[in-house]
Symmetry: C2
Amino acid sequence: MSSDPDAGAPRRRATIADVARAAGVSPSTASVVFSGKAPVAERTRERVLAVAADLGYTGPDPRAASLRRGRSGIVAVTVEEHLRTAFLDPIKTATMDGLTDGLAALGAGVLLLRDDPDAAPDAPTLATAPIDAAVLIGCSGRMRETLQAVRNRGLPVVVIEGDAGEGVPRIELDNVEAAAQIAHHLRALGHRDIGVVTLSFDGERVRGDATPERIAGITTPVTKDRLDGTLSVFPDARVVSAGGSFIDEGVLAGRLLFADPEHRPTAVIAQSDLLAAGVIRAAEEAGLRVPEDVSVAGFDGIAVDGLGDHILTTAVQPAVEKGRAAGDAVARLLAGEPAASISFTCAFREGTTTGPAPGFVG
Amino acid sequence: MSSDPDAGAPRRRATIADVARAAGVSPSTASVVFSGKAPVAERTRERVLAVAADLGYTGPDPRAASLRRGRSGIVAVTVEEHLRTAFLDPIKTATMDGLTDGLAALGAGVLLLRDDPDAAPDAPTLATAPIDAAVLIGCSGRMRETLQAVRNRGLPVVVIEGDAGEGVPRIELDNVEAAAQIAHHLRALGHRDIGVVTLSFDGERVRGDATPERIAGITTPVTKDRLDGTLSVFPDARVVSAGGSFIDEGVLAGRLLFADPEHRPTAVIAQSDLLAAGVIRAAEEAGLRVPEDVSVAGFDGIAVDGLGDHILTTAVQPAVEKGRAAGDAVARLLAGEPAASISFTCAFREGTTTGPAPGFVG
DNA sequence: TTGTATGCGTTATCAG
DNA sequence: CTGATAACGCATACAA
């Protein structure tokens, strides 16, 4: 080595053929030394490795290997929103966590993709990235077109919390039942005037009281299913939509619900724990005690910061398991086996934020 | 199509050669139709496209293209912790956001990698994934070995908030100065008894009072720099380490600092806003008013839920810009140009959580 | 256990 | 504007 190793001729990187030649073996033998796919004499092995180190060969070029193998070892994970937004959702991060674990166990890496209509023209997309499969987190509107690109390529697809159409395995929750269970809990406690704070109806993030037409037009399955479950028990509940699953949005919705002291609900069902935390804050702002004056229930079963001593009544969903299940489904699909949709069950958790309706004698 | 389209002969997917043949043009012409790298007669173009649609050809195989081009269009982003943990940190997600934007503009996708020593043997790593470059978020201990693998491959590397050694461009903050500025602010307000709540010292997440030996052994640059800045102004400050940047950890540290009413600090400098929020909560628990009885400052300048009406005194860091800058640096490196390290400057923000020391007459 | 021969699907180059 | 040709770097089936 001279004083400046980079100054020399820009000789191309060594290939496995170079290594083989220098070690006096055939390319296939050298290949096997690195892949371990077949036994190699110890002496041969050592010689090849030594020569490789000498030549600065650091292992097979993944690009060439993936062409040859027909697999890249990469699975796309696509979210609908901006990343910062997606990762603000504790459920999504937990799911991502299980998913990366599940995929890693399978030997695959995760290519993070955002379903962005106006990305750079040459940026990788579901249609162009070197992926073996795709997992969609959520699937509404535009995403469904994007999806077609993947299916055209003949790649396996799994969708978490979304409807991607026929033949695409779905990983879901029993949102309807879990929501109904919460509603029944409140009904048994004597509540009759119910407020519902929903997740967003579609990509639009509109806030405020929902008209029947708007409700009929909900495109987000999670929102719709949880609402259906609630309305099956409380058909006359007042429905307010939030602009997303954030504490602040819950505060806004809560203020709306508690604005008129004459006509306020005795219980609020929020479609996420974060929203519920916001509703609780709004209640306290309005001088209402939880659960004495108003009961509040959430959904998700995550740990919420800023909830004080309250333990939220909620439906605990197995978020990490959902991700892992998606990973498993991808593995099966990749192995050519069929993969069925899976619906996970939430566990109802009674906390300290719900109690008997004022004046109710159980 | 028969009733079961998948039942037919498993004829392999059409290649660009098939399309070219069927369209009566050469493979190179067909290639150009898809890449747009050269002008093509409109009629030829249409014919090729029509034939492609007919054959179900959905565009060049990315694996083959990347082998030929020598580029995969994928950049690895490596975090040290478990994903769920990493994305719990608002600064990291904001940085990721800027980074994905910056890389997307460059036409690259993001392969999310965790520096996991015991991952599946065939899972992609920095050493084996088909990537064009790598961005490390944080770089301590074990990660440095991993890094060697990338450098051996001759791939460009950029590190955000970490020291990856000679020749690796770093994207950083002026942590020392920003921390010193906060300290000077408190000093000017008459504070002399200072408590410091630090981020974790290393991967170990040990909580509690720090001995000089432990302080000397800090391996996380962020922690060390911010602490150095603080100690340069308050050499005798009491240092307590937290187990991570969480509100709950801040609460624990705060309880420790406020445990003895006789010897409690009049001001606490936390190394993150989340920790500061926790300290404030601990102060209120202890019956202390902020800032009348105790001042609290943070670091980061993020929006913290659960802070009530307080506006945190803090150093606002340009987190998204950091990510974008890393993306730019990768672009330069990929273009063969040199990329220098960049140090971003924090903006001091005086909020409502710091005030004059009790009894201090300015 | 090792070597030989092929082709994976593209795209850059250069000549027409 | 189009076509012929030659790699890109590797892994596998098969023969020895």
